[in-house]
Amino acid sequence: MPVERAATGDNLCRSWPAGIKLGLAVAVIVAAGLAPEELWPATASLGVFVVALHALAGTSPRLLLRRTLQFLPMVIAISFAAVISRPDADAALWSAALMLRCLVAFLAGLWLMQTLTAAEFLDVLSRWRVPAALTVILNFLLRYVALLWEEHERMLRAQRARAGGPSGRWDQWQAAGERLGLLLLRALDRAERVHRAMLARGWTGESRKPSP
């Protein structure tokens, strides 16, 4: 899984306690979310702080730029919607501040993904007494997102292997739709098999902790 590859590499932030890293990222996200729009310079400073964290973590500038560019259209769409919904004089400032907040939160999340493994993340959540149902769901998500991604890659390769894959734009969209549909079916099938494997090892529907 790409997230795991980044998180298990060598960098300065890797050695920091997992709880500190998660706490720091959550604090940045909450602070960015709660900062009033007039305080946008403070939010921007938070952004600079997160970029500095990325530098310490050794995130490549190229990756940072690529991920930001992938995220940007969504932020712009949200900000645009905000401008339309508030036709007053402050709408532009409000929308720009919203965009800044989203970017800072996104970068903080990305930093966490670069420095924390899935196992460490779940471990911290358990220590913070996050409800077991939530950690179990997150656990499944983290485990199987990678597997579904691999499955998608295999389907994509198989499509391309047949005469170079779909040629026209419409064909490409159609093929992508077929892949997604098939992925959903395979995910459902996989879910059933995973559930069966859990039942075989005594799962009764509730998460148990070992007795002391």
């Binding site: 196992a119 485990r143 005594g202 009764t204």
Partner: protein, 251 residues
């Protein structure tokens, strides 16, 4: 000590909802510590049969438990006994990604003992012992995605062994394994004292490991007996879409 057979099937029949009969008239008695291979062409009903041994598929409800069609250690496999059944019968699935769902290998192996209410220290001891038994003592903190396919298969086995089952059911344990991983797996299985039930297409593994074979085709038992005798019968093998293993062919 109980003299009951490890497994007993009494005229087992099964059809998936809305589907054709997958199993019919399946009867067999398997004494403890037998190493039983279930062979047959694809779609013969091998995996379905195995799932019945762990109570994973619904059986036709019976008014009297004595009419039950699957028996484990002399007790019927009924809804009220599923916990005990799953403690007694360990199931290793064909695809390791179906079985490994935890964030680390250690957590995954500990899952079964946790469900059985095993104390924390004993669970930790079992995790260490099982990782050593499958030859992967250093994989403890790894994410399943970081392991090779063969290693994941061995971790699946460790996860089931941690429940200390008396009967171990394995669905295609050697499929997609390279020769080295296959050899390692066979060595681990050979060292176990549990009753083994192995569904496989790998007839060399059957010859290496098993002392009895059930040949399944069209959902029915077509032959039951000694591996060398059955697997060296070219007519029988050909009739059921199988081939005599290379080492049993006349030179």
């Amino acid at each position: 000590m109980s003299t009951a057979p490890a497994l007993e099937l009494r005229d087992l029949a099964f059809a998936y909802p809305g589907g054709r009969m997958v199993l019919s008239q399946i009867s067999a008695v398997v004494p403890p510590q037998t190493r039983l291979a279930v062979i047959g062409p694809s779609g013969a009903g091998k995996s379905t049969l195995l799932m019945h041994l762990n109570g994973l598929l619904p059986q036709t409800p019976v008014a009297d438990p004595r009419d039950c069609t699957v028996w484990i250690q002399g007790e019927p496999v009924v809804q009220s006994r599923l916990r005990t059944v799953r403690q007694t019968v360990g199931f290793v699935f064909q695809d390791p990604d179906d079985q490994l769902f935890a964030a680390t290998v250690e957590e995954d192996i500990a899952f079964g003992p946790k469900q059985l209410g095993i104390p924390r220290e004993e669970t930790a001891r079992r995790v260490t012992a099982c990782l050593e038994a499958v030859g992967l003592p250093d994989a403890r903190r790894m994410h399943p995605a970081q392991l090779s396919y063969g290693e994941r298969k061995r971790i699946c086995l460790a996860g089931v062994l941690a429940c200390e089952p008396q009967i171990l059911v394995l669905d295609e344990p050697s499929s997609n394994l390279d020769p080295r991983s296959r050899k390692q797996l066979a060595a681990i299985l050979r060292g176990l004292t549990a009753t083994l039930v192995i569904a496989t297409h790998d007839l060399d593994l059957v010859l290496d490991l098993c002392d009895r074979v059930l040949l399944l085709d069209h959902g029915r038992i077509q032959a039951d007996g000694d591996p060398e005798r059955l697997l060296s019968d070219p007519l029988l093998m050909d009739r059921h879409g199988l081939e005599v293993p290379w080492r049993l062919r006349p030179r």
